[in-house]
């Protein structure tokens, strides 16, 4: 192939190239195509799943949030009506409120607790691994099972909490009453997630430069001062990351609410995803409202994700 072009006329306008520009273009295109094809062979399968089971459903949520009816017998377009009606629909407002309150209680407790545990755990010299093991264990308990376990803690008659209260001579408490159920649910979440973030913070703390601490100690900084002026600022981004991610997780609460309290008493612990499930799968078929409320949740999560990505990009810019 090359010989054919290596004739007298081979010295073309491009200089001393032996192949014509057209031939080069053709071959380059072929090589490029082969590379693209290889790339998509690798990315394709995962990408297909990603599109089919994540991108399409997200679009589907938008689509159905603008419609009313039920999936089986057909839906019709209603524009933004679902969103206008949402505040008035049974349970929608309380579901959003419950979810926000739940996150507002559980996230700070989880993170403050986890940071405290991590600060102690990171400094311990001997036997740290057994504590890590035990602190982390609740993390691996499925929500359903965790809720079952908490039934045994919160039971009015024989629950662990009331047995402890009785041992101290106090009156038993109705833990899953209308006023306290959401709080108990949040504390359950603290129990389940504190280990995860504690290990996360331990890793971050161990990674901090020790020279800084030695210097601070020489400067006479107390333990509190070292925490306040070194650890906290150095972990600022890590902590921010934890706040965003644990909030996103908190907004998804469902299985513990279903098993521990059945969303009750009344609607006291009915959360957003719980409400979606009720709208569509448990009782009446309200696809439009279910999608609308799902979309609100998705948008909030996307907003939080974008804040997080923005933050990481900023960090990259500085480093």
């Amino acid at each position: 192939m090359t010989d054919a072009v290596m004739t007298e006329g081979g010295r073309n306008a491009a200089g001393r190239l032996r192949l014509s520009p057209a031939e080069h273009r053709r071959l380059a295109r072929k090589a490029r195509l082969r590379r693209e094809l290889t790339g998509w062979m690798f990315l394709g399968p995962m990408f297909l799943c990603f599109v089919l089971f994540l991108v399409v459903p997200v679009c589907g949520t938008v689509w159905w949030s603008l419609r009313t009816g039920n999936i089986a017998s057909g839906t019709s377009f209603v524009g933004l009506q679902n969103f206008y009606d949402l505040p008035g629909v049974v349970g929608a407002g309380s579901a959003i409120a419950n979810t926000l309150i739940f996150a507002a209680i559980s996230v700070p407790l989880i993170l403050v607790g986890a940071l405290g545990v991590a600060l102690i755990l990171a400094k311990i010299r001997h036997g740290g691994s057994i504590y890590r093991f035990l602190v982390y264990f609740p993390v691996l308990v499925p929500g359903v099972v965790a809720a079952l376990i908490w039934l045994f803690l919160t039971n009015v008659d024989f629950g662990l909490f009331n047995n402890v209260m009785k041992a101290f001579g106090a009156y038993p408490v109705t833990w899953l009453g209308a006023d306290s159920a959401l709080g108990v649910l949040a504390v359950l979440d603290v129990w389940r997630n504190i280990g995860y973030w504690a290990m996360f913070f331990v890793a971050a703390i161990i990674g901090l430069p020790t020279e800084l601490y030695q210097a601070a100690e020489l400067d006479g900084a107390s333990t509190w001062a070292r925490f306040r002026y070194l650890t906290l600022p150095l972990l600022r981004r890590i902590i921010f990351f934890a706040v965003i991610v644990s909030t996103i997780w908190g907004l998804q609460v469902f299985d513990t609410a279903l098993v521990l309290t059945n969303g009750g008493p009344g609607t006291a612990t009915t959360t957003v995803i719980y409400r979606v499930w009720l709208y569509v799968f448990a009782s009446n078929n309200k696809v439009g409202f279910a999608s609308a409320i799902s979309l609100v949740l998705i948008l909030v999560i996307l907003a939080l994700t974008l804040v997080q990505m923005r933050l990481l990009r900023d960090r990259r810019g500085i480093d």
Binding site: R35, E36, G39, F42, L43, F47, F50, L52, F53, L54, V55, T61, W63, V117, I120, I124, H126, F133, L134, V135, Y136, L140, V141, P142, G143, V144, V145, A147, L148, I149, L151, F152, L153, F158, L160, N163, K166, I194, M199, F200, A203, E217, T223, F241, V245, I248, F254, D255, V259, V276, F281, S294, I298, I301, L302, L304, T305, L306, M309, L312
Partner: protein, 300 residues
């Protein structure tokens, strides 16, 4: 804690003595602090672990013992009726099998899908990969729970509701694995694949013979993340299956709670039995489990 440094002028002998004192005081305070830390951690872990023991106790009690006060703190003589009932009168073993089968399938499939996608995202110069990666980052946190309506519609239009496929396919969409694998593969030295390319390996050969063996630690962490997430997943299996034979552990256990009245003995036994695989798995792969938390830091 920090021992105050001596101030003012001191005679050399005095200085030496005080230095020794300082060192001794410092050692003592170190020991005291270590002890305090152990004490604090012991209390914290006790609080975190006590519920497990309380439920374990309840599972070995009969109905009247569960309600008795003060509670029996040692399970003796143990009552095995709850476990017998759980194993023989409910679908527990079937649920357990379903969970392990589904989680195992998802994990196996995803290890390959994600590592291949990660390879393409990290190493192959192709159009559109930046957009794909950005889309994956943006949708990373969208939970399956917010997508149950369209997912259900999609799966039922495929006629897959109430099949294993319905349980296995949607979780494959999670982009976390591909993002993590991209990160891991980006960390491999570029010249290694170049050497392999010159040695005659195809693109797939490089992935299979060079990249996969070298990111094995990352693959194990990914497998642990996927498996535990699947083990814990609830809302999608709840919606995707209707028949008893296809219920996974979480759905089955939730059904025990929802139907057939209060049966605390059975509930406690099911809670304990559900934790066995977690416990075993965790014990074997402790290090990788803890790396789950670290993987969070890689989510960029």
């Amino acid at each position: 804690m920090a021992v105050e440094a001596g101030t003012g002028r001191v005679a050399p002998a005095e200085l030496r003595r005080s230095a020794v004192d300082h060192a001794r005081a410092r050692r003592a305070s170190r020991r005291r602090n270590e002890l305090l830390r152990h004490l604090a951690l012991a209390v914290i872990t006790f609080i975190l672990v006590a519920p497990f023991y309380y439920v374990f106790l309840a599972s070995l009690k009969n109905a009247t013992e569960i309600f008795s006060y003060p509670p029996k703190l040692l399970p003796f003589p143990p009552f095995f009726g709850n476990y017998k009932k759980l194993l023989f009168d409910t679908g527990f073993l079937r649920w357990m099998f379903n969970t392990l089968f589904v989680a195992g399938s998802v994990t196996t499939l995803k290890i390959f899908l994600d590592s291949m996608a990660g390879y393409a995202l990290a190493k192959i110069d192709m159009t559109g990969k930046k957009v794909v990666f950005l889309a994956m980052l943006i949708l990373l946190m969208v939970p399956i729970g917010a997508l149950v309506v369209p997912l259900w519609a999609l799966m039922s239009s495929f006629g897959l509701i109430d099949t294993y496929a319905a349980l296995i396919l949607p979780p494959l969409a999670n982009p976390l694995g591909a993002i993590l694998m991209r990160q891991f593969i980006l960390g491999l030295p570029k010249d290694l694949e170049n050497a392999a390319r010159l040695d005659g390996l195809s693109e797939f050969g490089i992935y299979w013979r060079i990249v996969l063996p070298l990111i094995k630690p990352g693959l194990v962490v990914l497998a642990v993340i996927i498996f535990t997430d699947q083990f814990m997943s609830f809302i999608w299996p709840l919606i995707a299956t209707t028949s008893d034979e296809l219920q996974v552990l979480t759905v089955g256990v939730a059904a025990l709670r929802a139907h057939g009245g209060a049966n605390y003995g059975l509930w406690s036994a099911s809670a304990v039995m559900s934790l066995i695989p977690v416990g075993v798995f965790f014990f074997v792969l402790q290090r990788q489990f803890l790396a789950r938390s670290l993987a969070g830091a890689l989510k960029q």
